[in-house]
């Protein structure tokens, strides 16, 4: 497989293709006939997904550095480059994005009946933007993609959503845009610092890593970045946009929102927050604050989820609880915690995505999401009930499913550094059962009473095709997560080592104001920077 990929020069163009192919697809979908749009979009996204699968083999699992790096000048005057690359952290996020986009598109065939071309075009735009977020190694480029994701999502919720879609869409947009504006200020601050340091304008990720920051600066910038990403994750108490957005969004919108958009927040933690501000990230107050917020998120939203009458809102709240585990793992600041957090991200993407799909299928059949109106559906839809049960169990972290591996590692990592908080977070395991099982019981078990419920059809072939890979992944990752863990470990180590080194230096100099040494020896070729000529794609592989 690797040699085949090499022979077509896969590493050189794959990342570009993953961004621009969906964009090309937008044109095709808009140009196609209304009825054909969905099939075209689906097969197109499958093509992108298959293409992205090559990353699994092309990726070198032994290295923690950025791989397949390519760069081209974009706005030379500001030092902005169009530069891409992936490492063990973003690899899975990219795969998750391409995978869940295909699944979500297939899952919207019935749900989306109006303005289909526009819908599928927006889905593809969303895919391109999200992939861009995960592969951008230029901070400016990252920010552009980060904000660009808001646009398609805003329209997907606002046009194809439920009754209160406008409220939800605006809330979603403003909430997240507000957060990221502060981050923009932070980015600009870093930009000026980097410009002074390098003697030329630059937005390159590696250059930002070299910027020396005092402890106080780190704390302020940490705050700005953390706010942006916390809203996205969302971390309690910035989570209230999520239930509204989920409830009003159409099924595919919810799927993408849960599966990948939330991950942009925690990805930001790993990619920017920890490496850029290692001292602030391990400041005891900061760590405690983040962990406490994570624990509150886990317990509090589990409680709130348990009393929701609306199934979709329930699942939306559980998302917050799951993302709490991710934040918990990340701020454990050790390998177990970070890897656990990453696995929770993947697992949550799969299982919660599947839950939203299943609820969407239920809604298509019954036109309600109120839990109390269902009952006994397992008798008329056994395959449906089975798929739902597997997904629900993966979601509450039963061993043997992907959810367990992630939560276990995240909690274990957190326990290493903060036993008391980790203990409280572990109680979330109980409350996961407390919110999920009553819903499963009320919907699928109990007596089959009403005629509407009796008429519910079991899964059809298309729906089985959607759910089979999701359920399979939950179980495969649950039993054999090692290939996944192996690939992310080196990159996670890079992050951890950076944090630990900074901490050690600060401890050695006995002040918080320790300054990382400046090693301006490598990275950017000034000619490359100021050369405004045609974008020559340079292959960054060593």
């Amino acid at each position: 497989m690797t040699s085949l990929l090499d022979s077509i020069g896969y590493a050189g163009w794959a990342l570009h293709a993953l961004i621009w192919l969906p964009v090309l697809g937008i044109g095709l979908v808009l140009w196609a006939e209304e009825e054909r749009a969905k099939n075209l979009a689906f097969w197109w996204s499958i093509g992108v997904f298959v293409l992205s699968l090559g990353l699994w083999w092309a990726f070198d699992p032994t290295s923690g550095a950025m791989q397949m790096e390519t760069t081209a000048p974009w706005i030379p005057a500001w030092g902005v480059n169009y530069s891409l690359g992936i490492d063990g952290i973003s690899l899975f996020m990219v795969l998750l994005t391409t995978f869940s986009t295909s699944i979500a598109i297939l899952g919207s065939f019935n749900y989306i009946q109006t303005k289909q071309r526009a819908f599928y075009a927006l889905m593809l735009l969303l895919e391109a933007a999200v992939v861009g977020v995960f592969v951008a190694t230029d901070v400016f480029l990252f920010y552009v993609f980060f904000e660009l994701t808001l646009v398609p999502m805003y329209f997907i919720v606002g046009i194809w959503g439920g009754e209160r879609r406008i409220y939800a869409a605006i809330k979603f947009f403003l909430y997240t845009a507000f957060g990221s504006l502060l981050m923009l200020v932070g980015i600009l601050f870093l930009f000026w610092k980097a410009k002074t340091l390098m003697g030329m304008p630059t937005f390159a990720y590696e250059d930002f890593l070299l910027v020396p920051l005092t402890g106080t600066e780190q704390l302020w910038l940490f705050g700005a970045f953390a706010l942006a990403f916390s809203v996205k994750v969302p971390v309690f108490p910035f989570h209230t946009w999520l239930p509204d957005a989920h409830v009003e969004a159409p099924t595919p919108g919810s799927v993408i929102l849960a599966a990948v958009l939330l991950k942009m927040g925690t990805y930001g933690f790993l990619r920017f927050l920890l490496p850029f501000f290692p001292l602030a990230s391990q400041h005891p107050t900061v760590v405690t604050t983040m962990l406490v917020l994570a624990v509150i998120g886990i317990l509090y939203t589990a409680w709130v989820a348990a009393v929701q009458p609306d199934a979709k809102k329930l699942v939306a709240y559980t998302s917050v609880a799951h993302m709490g585990f991710v934040v918990l793992g990340i701020f454990a600041l050790n390998v177990n915690g970070l890897q656990g957090g990453l696995v929770v991200m993947i697992s949550h993407g799969i299982s919660t995505g599947a839950l939203f799909l299943l609820l969407g299928m239920l809604y298509e059949r019954r036109h309600t999401r109120t839990i109390a109106e269902f009952g006994g559906i397992a008798r008329v839809a056994p395959w449906f009930a089975t798929a739902f049960l597997i997904t629900a169990l993966a979601s509450i972290g039963l061993p043997g499913t992907s959810g367990f591996v992630g939560e276990f590692l995240a909690l274990m990592g957190a326990f290493e550094s903060h036993p008391t908080l980790a203990f409280l977070a572990t109680l979330g395991v109980i409350f996961a059962a407390y919110y999920m099982l009553p819903m499963v019981q009320t919907v699928f078990f109990n007596k089959l009473e009403t005629d509407e419920n009796r008429a519910i059809e079991d899964l059809n072939t298309r729906e089985m095709v959607i759910l089979a890979p999701l359920c399979a992944l939950m179980i495969i990752i649950g039993w054999n997560p090692t290939p996944v863990l192996d690939r992310m470990e080196p990159s996670v180590r890079v992050v951890i080592e950076r944090v630990e080194e900074a901490g050690a230096r600060a401890a050695a100099s006995d002040v918080l104001e320790a300054i990382p040494p400046v090693e301006v020896t490598q990275t950017l070729d000034p000619e490359d920077m100021n050369d405004g000529s045609a974008p020559a794609m340079t292959d960054g592989d060593e």
């Binding site: 709130v304 008798r379 039963l398 099982l437 019981q441 470990e489």
Partner: protein, 719 residues
């Protein structure tokens, strides 16, 4: 992942020392039930689809007469018990091989790396040693019998294939639990059996109460699981591993009675409390009787609920290092034993009696492992698996018969209520005889299995009290007295159950009693096998003090302290620690007298209780439920209502959490947080509204403001 060949043969095998034990396809023991689950599960889904179509049409799927049933219904008959029988045979081969070898170190079979981060690794590996082998024998052996019994019990149930799928899956997870080579893998089985228990309790999910019972079991179990997780985290934090071998090896470095080991063991015990239904988390087990009766026999008597005992026995090294935790284990055990026994006195549902009896007997096992008699705890686990599975299946046969009688006459009486039974020995002689054997065994009458195992536990409790450096001697004396008292109660409530069910006049009804019948062979043969085991099962571990005396018939009983010696490689380290810290056990009970004397006293006392209660209960007039208007009063009422523990939990825990949840949602989330968010929105809107007043829409206003602005800027730049 390992290839299939290495999977079944055991690929990377390490640490085969001190013996020539060649494992014989141990992977298949685990794999077969899983394959059975997959096959049955597929059949079940196909079957359910057919039945769903019927339900959608407003009818039920007609299973017709037994000869014309669809393959989806008949195939599981062979697959379900079939995989179990093969798994049992393979286990048997392994067992005999291990008998021949003198295995000092566990044999560990690595299949693949399950979880590996930079600092933490745990393999998917099976551990074969004496303890896991005993557990495997019990699980596959009793499991096979219960599967066979189920064929008779469940054959007319529309969900038959689903039932076998769940049952096979349960056995798979149970085997993972006992064979896993690390706490993490054990936890997989631990929660897996919890899942199967949930599914099987709520097997008849259309009944809301039954579905509720399943949910309750799962959630209560999860409370315990948190303890298990925390204990694992503590282990990892201190040893860097959760594998048994390195942890027990490194455990030597722990301080005897130190805070760390006490914390680890107490957290593990929280897990055990949940899984093994001990105080205060026992409440799910009586409700779990909502499941089919063979399920109660397999999961809620013979195997799953004993997982907690297995956990403590497996961690014997850690518990031996923590005298406080051991005292807590024994204390919870003995309190539960007594508490549950008193509740069982007043229950009328035959399965509820057995459920509380199980809780009580599990308490005994914990007393055993709590006083450092790990072999005795496992011994009681094993004999209990025999006689309690027998009792449950016997009650299943009774319920089956009662159900058919009521079904035939379209009566809606409760077929499980003993007040509707009576005199069944005339209709079901085999069931009657086998259940009496089990009753005598559980009551602790010589020479039945329960006598030896229970006696040993009580003896050790007393002996611990008199050990040289016993940590809490008075406490253990109290345990010893309570354990004896609970043994007497056991004899009473079990006899009461037997008399109410089988003796006296029949109360089922004149028309109905014509339909009462003995269970078919597929059901009574397993009963008979277990009856034999209930008689002889105790002979494998007759203490030396007894085997040479009257109880061993002057040494003719064949095996002596076989189990004790068999488990020695597992418990040696723990015993070593105990001896170093506690000194030698006393050879006298707290009030004097040797083991043989007290064994004689207890068996005579138990025998007397049985005889007296036959007269006592037999002399009572019991009326059927429909005619029963008796109001209970005083303590009897409290017992009948199970000390109101469920009501207490509901009021003190469940309702407050629900109220807090609603508060969080309505007040904090929708009120405060969203209130702030919306306030920001309204604030912006308000400011916008005020500013928009300047937007008159008339061009002249705009031009005027523009001009003023220009003049202002000009003026500003001039001056």
């Amino acid at each position: 992942m390992a290839s299939l060949a290495t999977l079944v043969q055991g690929g990377g095998q390490t640490a085969v020392e001190g013996g020539h034990f060649e494992p014989f396809f141990p992977g298949l023991v685990v794999l077969l039930p899983l394959l059975g689950f997959l096959a049955n599960g597929f059949l079940a889904l196909q079957h359910a689809r057919a039945s769903a179509d019927a339900v959608r049409g407003g009818a039920e799927l007609d299973l017709g007469d037994p000869s014309s049933r669809p393959a989806t219904h008949t195939l599981p008959t062979w697959i379900g018990p079939g995989v179990m029988a093969v798994a049992f045979l393979i286990t048997l081969v392994n067992f005999t091989r291990m008998l021949g070898a003198h295995l000092d170190e566990p044999v560990i079979l690595h299949y693949w790396t399950w979880i590996a981060t930079g600092t933490f690794t745990v393999d998917a590996a099976l551990q074969l040693d004496q303890l896991s082998m005993i557990m495997m024998m019990v699980i596959t052996g009793v499991g096979t019998l219960i599967h066979v019994f189920s064929v008779g019990y469940m054959k007319d149930d529309p969900g038959y294939p689903r039932y076998f799928a769940y049952l096979n899956l349960f056995v798979f997870f149970m085997l993972v639990l006992v064979m896993g080579s690390s706490y993490a893998l054990m936890f997989v089985g631990w929660e897996g059996v919890g899942l199967c228990s949930y599914l099987l309790i709520g097997y008849w999910f259309s009944d809301r109460e039954k579905a509720d019972a399943g949910k309750k079991a799962f959630i209560v179990n999860r409370i315990g699981d948190v303890g298990f997780l925390i204990a694992m985290f503590l282990l990892f934090k201190n040893f860097g591993s959760v594998d048994f071998v390195p942890v027990f090896h490194d455990a030597e470095t722990l301080v005897y009675g130190g805070g760390l080991v006490t914390a680890i063991t107490l957290f593990f015990f929280v897990g055990a409390i949940g899984k093994s239904a001990q105080m205060p988390l026992y409440v799910w087990l009586p409700d779990a009787m909502a499941g089919p009766t063979p399920v109660s026999a397999l999961i809620h008597a013979a195997t799953m609920v004993t997982a907690g005992v297995y956990l403590v026995a497996r961690s014997s090294v850690l518990f031996a290092l923590a005298p406080l935790s051991s005292a807590v284990v024994a204390g919870i055990g003995v309190i539960t034993a007594l508490f549950a026994a008193t509740i069982a006195l007043k229950q009328n549902d035959i399965k509820k009696v057995l459920a509380y009896s199980t809780v009580s007997q599990l308490g005994y096992m914990f007393v055993g492992v709590g006083v450092g008699a790990y072999a005795a705890g496992v011994f009681h686990l094993m004999t209990h698996a025999f006689f309690k599975a027998l009792l449950f299946m016997g009650s299943g046969a009774v319920i089956h018969s009662m159900h058919e009688a009521y079904h035939a006459t379209h009566n809606h009486e409760d077929p499980q209520d003993m007040r509707n039974m009576g005199g069944l020995k005339a209709f079901m002689p085999i069931t009657w005889v086998t259940m009496w054997i089990a009753t005598l065994a559980i009551a602790g009458i010589w020479p039945f299995a329960g006598f030896f195992s229970k006696d040993e536990i009580i003896w050790y409790a007393g002996a611990w009290a008199g050990a040289e450096n016993a940590p809490y001697p008075q406490l253990y004396t109290v345990y010893w007295i309570l354990a004896l008292a609970a043994a007497m109660l056991t004899a009473f409530y079990m006899t009461r159950m037997m008399v109410m069910t089988f003796h006296g006049a029949n109360r089922t009804g004149d028309e109905e009693s014509k339909h009462l019948h003995e269970a078919p062979p597929v059901m009574w043969v397993p009963l008979a096998v277990l009856a034999v085991l209930s008689v002889f099962g105790g002979w494998i571990n007759v203490p030396e003090a007894l085997s040479s005396g009257w109880a061993g018939l002057g040494g003719i009983l064949p095996m002596g302290e076989w189990l004790h010696h068999w488990l020695e490689p597992i418990t040696a380290q723990a015993h070593h620690i105990q001896e170093a810290n506690l000194g030698t056990y006393s050879y006298y009970a707290p009030f004097g007298g040797g083991e043989a004397l007290w064994a004689a006293i207890s068996t005579v006392a138990a025998g007397l209780v049985v005889l007296v209660s036959i007269r006592l209960v037999g002399g009572r007039t019991v009326v059927p439920v429909k005619d029963d208007a008796a109001e209970m009063s005083g303590f009897a009422k409290v017992l009948y209502n199970k000390y109101y523990v469920d009501e207490f939990y509901d009021r003190v825990i469940v309702q407050p959490i629900l109220r807090a949840s609603r508060f969080c949602w309505k007040v904090i989330d929708a009120g405060i947080i969203d209130g702030v968010v919306n306030a920001v929105g309204w604030g912006s809107k308000g400011i916008g509204w005020v500013v928009s007043m300047f937007q008159t829409g008339t061009v002249n206003t705009y031009a005027f403001i523009l001009t003023v602005g220009v003049l202002f800027v000009l003026g500003a730049s001039l001056f």
